[in-house]
């Protein structure tokens, strides 16, 4: 395991941590309540408040931060770079892009101009030329590589063994049937960052069909997995069957369905599913982090596949 500077990161056989820390709570995302989301964005407008929570999670043994490439992430990256000795094994699973950034720019400037804005304008002249030429040639692969590079820049020097495509992009491309773009993302993340590509989706079974078709073997796929079927397109029975029978590396998110399921029951459901590798959750207080982490540890040890 090492950094984005080069050398080896993750191979297909390297295990992901059982517990990953999520970031929705830091950036005003709450699926249950806009008031709660606003209260959280007030609480976390100071980056130190986020660092304090990440430190609390680290103290509980959670060393992987699965984070959106939000603008504010770059301040957090600076912190971890500047204090590398304090976090010897800390790692990030970047999830890209932060889609509202693009969506708002498209509304304001139109699609092509917005795209031009997000392609790298600094650094090597070669990159600029490549961006310009790629745009003119409608070379989606080069454009995508440049956009990935732009998002990855903030993680320079940090460990990023898994890099995810955000669900809004995964699912947009899935519906559009721009299948080859998954292959392009996969290859660039592997080749340039020596990292394992992952895909976040709300349409897990449908995405797996496409990844299979592309020959992407045993992919990391992060999806909502919860007892009540919240945002699990295809329904609970199909998800359970998919997890049981298909070859992929599931990461469960929205396990608590934004608080609609009691924690023990919620975690037990996910731990009872075979071969879910990781569970991502977000929390804002040390108490909640400790409780959820302990619950996952306890129920993982007791799970049928343990």
């Amino acid at each position: 395991m090492s950094s984005t500077d080069g050398t080896q990161q993750m191979t297909e056989h390297t295990l992901m941590d059982r517990v990953l820390f999520g970031d929705n709570q830091f950036f005003g995302v709450n699926h249950m309540s806009e008031d709660k989301a606003r209260a959280q964005s007030m609480k976390f407008q100071d980056t130190q408040a986020i660092i304090d929570v990440l430190d609390a999670a680290y103290a509980e043994g959670i060393r992987t931060f699965m984070c959106t490439t939000h603008d504010r992430m770059s301040e957090l990256c600076d912190h971890f770079r500047n204090n590398a000795a304090r976090y010897p094994d800390y790692q990030f699973y970047p999830c890209m892009p932060y889609a509202h950034k693009y969506a708002n720019a498209v509304t304001e400037h139109g699609m092509i101009e917005a795209l031009r804005m997000f392609l790298p304008q600094d650094g090597a002249i070669g990159a600029m030329l490549k961006g310009g030429v790629a745009l003119a040639n409608k070379d989606v692969e080069s454009i995508m590589q440049l956009l990935i590079d732009a998002e990855m820049k903030m993680f320079h020097g940090l460990k990023t063994p898994v890099v995810f495509m955000q669900n809004v992009i995964t699912d947009l491309l899935l519906g559009l049937r721009m299948k080859e773009t998954f292959r392009m993302f996969h290859d660039h993340v592997r080749e340039k960052y020596n990292a394992e590509p992952g895909f976040i989706t709300m349409n897990m079974p449908q995405l797996l069909d496409v990844l299979d078709e592309l020959g992407i073997v045993n992919p990391i796929v992060c999806a909502n997995i919860n007892r009540i079927g919240f945002r699990m397109c295809g329904g609970v029975p199909l998800y359970e069957e998919t997890i049981r029978s298909r070859r992929f590396r599931p990461v469960a998110m929205s396990v608590l369905a934004s608080g609609a399921i009691a924690p023990r029951e919620a975690v037990k459901y996910v731990c009872d599913q075979p071969k879910i590798e990781s569970i991502v959750f977000g929390a804002s207080s040390r108490g909640n982090i400790r409780q959820t982490k302990a619950l996952i540890d306890e129920l993982t040890a007791r799970s049928p596949s343990a």
Binding site: E34, N104, E108, M111, V140, G175, F230, R231
Partner: protein, 358 residues
């Protein structure tokens, strides 16, 4: 399979295209957009047959249905051509800019018995459906006031160059944000008879409004307020909320939750006590076959497909109902005619060099 085409492949258009192509009953046979750049990419990477000419697409393709997501000023003529050819039509909101066009199109669609739907997706959000159900059930007693709000971070500085910043093309927060809030009021409480106290002003935009405020009036004395501002960065994305006050309590709903306060329990809501009851999106949302950005976007497309299959010509979000929203928007425009307040922020004067090299 319903042979369907799409015209307008901008931001909303691509989202529709993705959902349409994922729908098991829809065969999306062609797309059309004036941007050759975009259609070339779609053809090359997704195999979609694309046109740059709408008339040619209608001419060449044997279609049953059309989805329109072009800039608003193009809606009326495209919808009309499609209806004349006997196609079922889903049109993005706002339906039309001129209500005379809207009246003609409602008549045409209804006379031909064609499915007609407009993309007011909030009517497919669980929490708003619940608000409508509760208000119509009478649980709040006699309704006397409604407030609809829409805030978001779209125009945050003095520039912008798309059709949304152009007054004559249906740009501005009125046609983009306010019409959603108006339609939500129409849905939950009913269509107001008149509006007054209209304020429309640019905050940063020079040619269009960024904020709209007005009072809504109903024939029975019920009143309402509309507050819309798309230059509010404190919101992460568009946020719409409706509150309704009645003699037996109030309700506030947004995309996430529905908060109900009842002064006394009511037979129409046997599961709600005196005081607060909160219903969350996780309880109110029906799952969809494909998810992108929100269940409501998929649900409205599925509703359109099911309407075609069952020949349901007067369903949710019909042209007739969307025209009611357009009429309220027209009232807001006519009440503010003649009054063009200066925007809050004036454009910076260009420097000498910038003017020379302009």
């Amino acid at each position: 399979m319903i042979r369907t085409a799409m015209v307008g492949l901008g931001k909303m258009g691509l989202s529709h295209l993705s959902i349409l192509r994922a729908h098991p009953d829809i065969d999306l046979v062609a797309g059309c957009d004036s941007s050759a750049y975009l259609t070339d990419i779609l053809t090359k990477y997704s195999g979609l047959k694309c046109y740059d000419n709408f008339d040619r697409m209608l001419e060449n393709e044997a279609l049953e249905a059309l989805v329109v997501a072009t800039p608003s000023k193009l809606h009326a003529s495209m919808v009309e051509k499609a209806l004349e050819r006997g196609l079922h039509v889903f049109c993005e909101k706002p339906f039309v800019l001129d209500t005379a066009d809207g009246e003609r199109l409602v008549e045409l669609a209804e006379r031909k018995g064609l499915v007609n739907q407009v993309g007011y997706h909030y009517r497919f959000v669980g929490a708003f459906k619940e608000a409508e159900r509760i208000v119509k059930s009478g649980a709040l007693g006699t309704v006397h006031h409604v407030r609809a709000e829409a805030f978001g971070p779209v125009v945050l500085r003095p520039k912008g160059s798309t059709w949304r910043s152009s007054k004559n093309e249906g740009g501005g927060a009125l046609y983009d944000y306010a019409c959603h809030a108006v339609d939500l009021v129409n849905f939950v409480v009913g269509t107001p008879a008149s509006v007054d106290g209209v304020v429309r002003r640019g905050v940063f935009s020079q040619d269009v409004d960024d904020e709209i405020y007005c009072t809504l009036r109903y024939a029975d004395g019920t009143s309402g307020q509309l507050s819309v501002n798309w230059s509010d960065e404190s919101f992460r994305k568009m946020s719409t909320r409706i509150s309704v006050w009645g003699t037996n309590g109030r309700i506030t709903a947004d995309r996430q939750e529905c908060q109900i306060y009842l002064r006394e329990p009511h037979a129409a809501m046997p599961d709600a006590h005196k005081g607060w009851t909160i219903r969350y999106t996780t309880d109110l949302t029906e799952e969809v076959w494909f998810y992108l950005r929100g269940e409501e976007y998929s649900a409205q497309i599925d509703y359109f497909a099911q309407s075609i299959k069952s020949r349901r010509a007067r369903g949710q979000n019909s042209f007739r109902s969307a025209l009611d929203a357009d009429r309220v928007v027209t009232m807001i425009v006519s009440q503010s005619a003649g009054e063009t307040p200066r925007p809050v922020v004036q454009p910076a004067r260009k420097g000498v060099m910038a003017r020379i090299f302009r």
